[in-house]
């Protein structure tokens, strides 16, 4: 018997990513790297006006160009494709992949060219002439609610896409509304803080733009579609449905995906068109978005304004919250568009036991790019409105903002806690995370430093934000796609392990974290485990990666599938060792009888036996492969506390972040190195919203932020070194106790940076400033203008 090395436990360790060797050598295959013989390239002719009727479209010059295979107008595409479906139960106007009669935002496709290379395709798209009758455009959502100057969709009076939709205290499941409790809360209040706030429009901006390759093979009647997508299985379902193919005839592949942040959940018009055109022509086609197109046509995020009223007693006890929300969703409903702002209502209680809440949501069509899920998706907006409100209340009461929050926390013994807007928080310990953050930041000393700096005339401010959010997006009741995830685990003949996951990653490092888990579960070397994903021909079932669900749902499915295979393998080992399976331990590449280490078989021996079982133990089938679907009973609700120190240059108005402390609680962590990376990236996007990012439209609906020259995403020099810590409050809703972390950083950071800026200007009587905090806006305030 040979001795085997002692294998370290990997779950909880900072394991280097196994994805990296290919990516740091330029050997990853992203969708634009896919090549097929005979590949044709698509280019879209897009509307250059915000609203208008197509009177005529002349494609003759485009068709005459050498290398052009075909040109399709919206009317011709309509013969190949029905209207684009959505994934929410809300009523939705007809939305065509290529507009045939009316265009409703700048960038909406009106024709598509198929040509031999991308240069010719672009030339041809430019050669298409479109004659429009311009219609008035509406860009201000509150103006749009009057139905003037433009009505986008005839069946949606006053441009109301959804609502007004009430939620919270006194709102019955049947839509009945009783105002008694919320009115009483405000009647009892000793202080009320009221503020209109805007959580403005952002561009998700993954560095890899969207892209698709579609390859219909006429002899086989099958379609293979490569797409830069977060959810190949959902893509397959929708593409099959709209192209008239069965799901068994469509194979969807997500190759390396260069970031998504929610924007690559959607099934976009270009993907449907690529599939339909490939099928029609019998040719493989590719389309890759350029950055200007991305700003026009990839979904935008946020863009919700709120009228916030917070009622409290003078001792800081919050009695009630009113949140009147107006969401500017742009010109159409995309996959989840209408559902996203409802999450803002769901999370209106934030980390507080607020006894009366009334949220009211109206979603409005405007002549802009449609919105949908962007990192955090509805939760950052809720936390922003409530946390800015709490900060204003603290100021009004002269209380320390940390103490005001602490006074209103949901206590650990109140979990599971049902909020007034219906969320059921799984677990939490908000005092603990607040204490850790205050200690990490040196809160009392920071306040003294801020006071000293302000006494010198420097504009230094301190901001604090609590957050709680929804992760591990979960039960099927809340997700039209189904809320489960799938995994298959196979112990191969040679004792190595292959596993598949439906959680198709785009930078999350699942190949590493999932291999850590299986290596521990089976007691085998990390290098003996391979994780496959992102190909519906390899991964039998799946939902995808969004809502911070990879670990909490996908990881849980993997754990369950692994458990099934391990249990079966134990039966084979028990037969070989003439032992009872309950007495076996899997460790260090062996399966041994507990307490009798000499009685052991190597993992590979047992695997080989299971694949050639002479003789077959009674009641067992050969082989070691099994699958699991995991459907969580609830979402998870991770939380945290973020603290920012910021200084504004008195002469230029330029804000500079001096410190950023983030203490997060995502439950149990599989790989703290990867978790840190997720939080860093989230912080960067949340801070980016506060300081540098804003999608801007002119009054005519023309986008003014159409490239990286106009829309800033943060650069390395914009940040100090982030200071992280964490607490661990496991969730009871999955077997791992992991909550999810992908969106956390984005949610807490934004309000605390804005609160820090407001704090820096408190000497000027400033109570609130709308984002983004552009230097010009701050400079005008410093010069005595208004916020």
């Amino acid at each position: 018997m040979t001795s085997s090395p002692v294998l370290p436990k990997l779950v909880g360790q900072r394991v280097k990513r196994r994805e990296d060797p290919r990516l740091i050598q330029g050997r990853g295959t992203y969708v634009d790297d896919v090549k097929i013989a005979g590949l044709q390239h698509l280019a879209f002719k897009r509307s250059d006006i915000a609203h208008g009727r197509i009177l005529a479209i002349d494609t003759s010059a485009a068709e005459a160009l050498d290398g052009v295979e075909a040109v399709f107008t919206g009317a011709q595409i309509a013969e190949l494709l029905g209207p684009m479906p959505i994934g929410t139960p809300f009523p939705s106007p007809e939305h065509r992949a290529v507009a045939a009669d009316i265009v409703r935002y700048v960038g909406e496709p009106v024709a598509v060219v198929v040509a031999r290379d991308r240069y010719v395709a672009r030339d041809a798209a430019d050669a298409i002439a479109v004659d429009y009758e311009p219609l008035p455009a509406v860009v201000d959502p509150e103006e749009a609610m009057s139905g003037r100057p433009a009505l986008l969709h005839a069946d949606f009076p006053n441009n109301h896409a959804v609502g007004p939709l009430p939620a919270g205290t006194g709102v019955g499941g049947d839509g009945t509304v009783d105002d008694t409790a919320i009115d009483q809360a405000f009647a009892d209040a000793e202080v009320v803080v009221s503020q209109r706030m805007v959580n403005h429009r952002l561009a998700p901006t993954s560095i890899e733009p969207r892209g698709v390759v579609a390859h219909y093979e006429p002899g086989k009647d099958t379609l293979t579609i490569w797409s830069s997508t977060q959810n190949p299985h959902i893509l397959r379902t929708f593409i099959a449905s709209l192209t008239g193919l069965g799901q068994d005839q469509v194979r969807a592949i997500a190759p390396e995906v260069g970031g998504g942040f929610g924007s690559k959940i959607n099934i976009y018009g270009e993907e449907y068109v690529a599939a339909a055109v490939s099928k029609r022509l019998g040719l493989p086609v590719k389309w890759v978005e350029d950055r200007s197109e991305a700003f026009l046509t990839t979904i935008h995020g946020r863009d919700i304004l709120a009228y916030v009223d917070l009622a409290a007693r003078r001792d800081g006890t919050v009695l009630g919250l009113k949140l009147r929300l107006v969401a500017d969703i742009g010109a159409y409903n995309m996959l989840l568009t209408a559902a996203i702002p409802t999450l803002t209502m769901t999370m209106a209680s934030a980390t507080y036991a607020i006894p009366a809440i009334r949220a009211t949501l109206t979603e409005v069509f405007t002549n802009k790019t449609p919105t949908d899920a962007y990192r955090g998706a509805g939760r950052p907006e809720a936390i922003y409105f409530v946390e800015r409100g709490m900060d204003m209340l603290a100021r009004e009461l002269g209380m320390d903002p940390a103490e005001l929050r602490r006074r209103n926390f949901i206590r650990p013994d109140q979990f599971p806690y049902t909020t007034q807007t219906g969320a059921v928080y799984d677990s939490g310990d908000y005092d603990k995370v607040l204490d850790r953050a205050l200690e990490k930041a040196g809160w009392e000393q920071l306040k003294a430093e801020r006071d000293a700096a302000q006494a010198e005339g420097r504009l230094v401010g301190l901001g604090l934000s609590m957050y709680v959010e929804i992760c591990g997006v979960g039960p099927s009741s809340g997700l039209p796609t189904g809320g489960w995830e799938h995994a298959q685990v196979t112990v191969e003949r040679d004792g190595r392990i292959s596993a598949t996951t439906g959680a198709s990653p785009h930078g999350q490092g699942n190949e590493t974290t999932f291999a850590q888990m299986l290596a521990d579960q089976f007691g085998v070397p990390f290098d003996h485990v391979t994780i496959r994903h992102g190909d519906t021909a390899v991964v039998k079932q799946g939902i995808g990666t969004f809502g911070s669900r990879s670990q909490a749902v996908g990881g849980a499915a993997l754990h369950l599938a692994g458990g099934k295979v391990k249990a079966k393998m134990a039966k084979f080992a028990a037969a070989l060792l003439e032992a009872h399976e309950a007495d076996l331990v899997f460790e260090n590449g062996r399966i041994a009888v507990a307490g009798a280490p000499a009685a052991a078989k190597s993992f590979a021996e047992v695997a080989a036996y299971a694949h050639r079982p002479i003789k077959l133990p009674a009641g067992l089938e050969p082989g070691l492969s099994d699958e699991a679907f995991f459907e969580p009973s609830n979402n998870t609700y991770p939380f945290g506390c973020h603290i920012a120190l910021l200084e504004i240059d008195r002469d230029t108005g330029e804000p500079r972040l001096l410190r950023m402390v983030a203490v997060d609680d995502a439950g149990h962590l599989i790989n703290p190195l990867i978790v840190e990376g997720q939080i860093h990236g989230g912080l960067a996007q949340g801070i980016g919203q506060a300081l540098v990012e804003e999608v801007v439209y002119g009054a005519d609906g023309q986008p003014l932020t159409g490239s990286f020259m106009d829309y800033a995403i943060p650069r390395a020099s914009d940040f100090p070194r982030f200071e992280l810590d964490n607490t661990v409050t496991p969730t009871p809703v999955n077997p791992l106790g992991a909550k999810g972390v992908g969106e956390a950083g984005t949610i807490g950071s934004t309000p605390c940076v804005v609160s820090a800026a407001v704090d820096a200007l408190r000497g000027l009587g400033v109570k609130h400033i709308d984002m983004m905090l552009r230097p010009e806006r701050l400079w005008r305030i410093i010069q005595g203008g208004q916020a």
Binding site: K35, L673, G677
Partner: protein, 156 residues
């Protein structure tokens, strides 16, 4: 069409190209070197960064004909056989990447940075990488990666 002859990762490559062909498309489409990525059309993001005669350059901003006679190094040519470049090691060790799309360009810019300044401060690194955008990492692990490589380069 115009004839170009460019030495890429040590090998001389000649081709007839359209005068308007971008260097990045020459590398990606003609040579199948797909490590340099395209992330914008305005030279902001830096995903296409390569070394042109030893200096970092955004290959989406240069026509292939402008690189005629030049030497180009792409991410594929950075490792010494199986031995990773110190910056590649640094990015791996310090988790300097997530989706990996900006990474080839980020690494090539960092090569230029360390060539100019073998012992940069953290601020030097942050300022030096301002021409490369990353949306995933928040840059902190990228800074660590460059520091890691700088340490190794100095030791080496």
């Amino acid at each position: 069409m115009a004839q170009v002859s460019i030495t890429v990762n040590g090998k001389r490559r000649s081709a007839d190209v359209e005068p308007r062909l971008l260097l990045v498309h020459f590398l990606r489409e003609h040579l199948n070197l797909t490590g340099a990525h395209v992330g914008c059309d305005t030279s902001q993001c830096g995903a296409c960064t390569v070394l042109l005669d030893g200096r970092s350059a955004k290959s989406c901003t240069i026509f292939a004909v402008q690189a005629d006679g030049a030497e180009v190094t792409t991410i594929e040519g950075l490792a010494d056989g199986d031995r990773l470049h110190p910056l590649q090691e640094g990015f791996w060790e310090e988790h300097g990447l997530q989706c990996g799309y900006c990474t080839p360009g980020m690494i090539m810019s960092a090569v230029n940075l360390l060539n100019d300044n073998p012992a940069p401060t953290e601020q030097d690194i942050r300022d030096g990488l301002d021409g490369n955008l990353c949306r995933c990492t928040g840059y902190q692990h990228i800074v660590n990666a460059v520091q890691h490589a700088a340490g190794r380069t100095r030791e080496g």
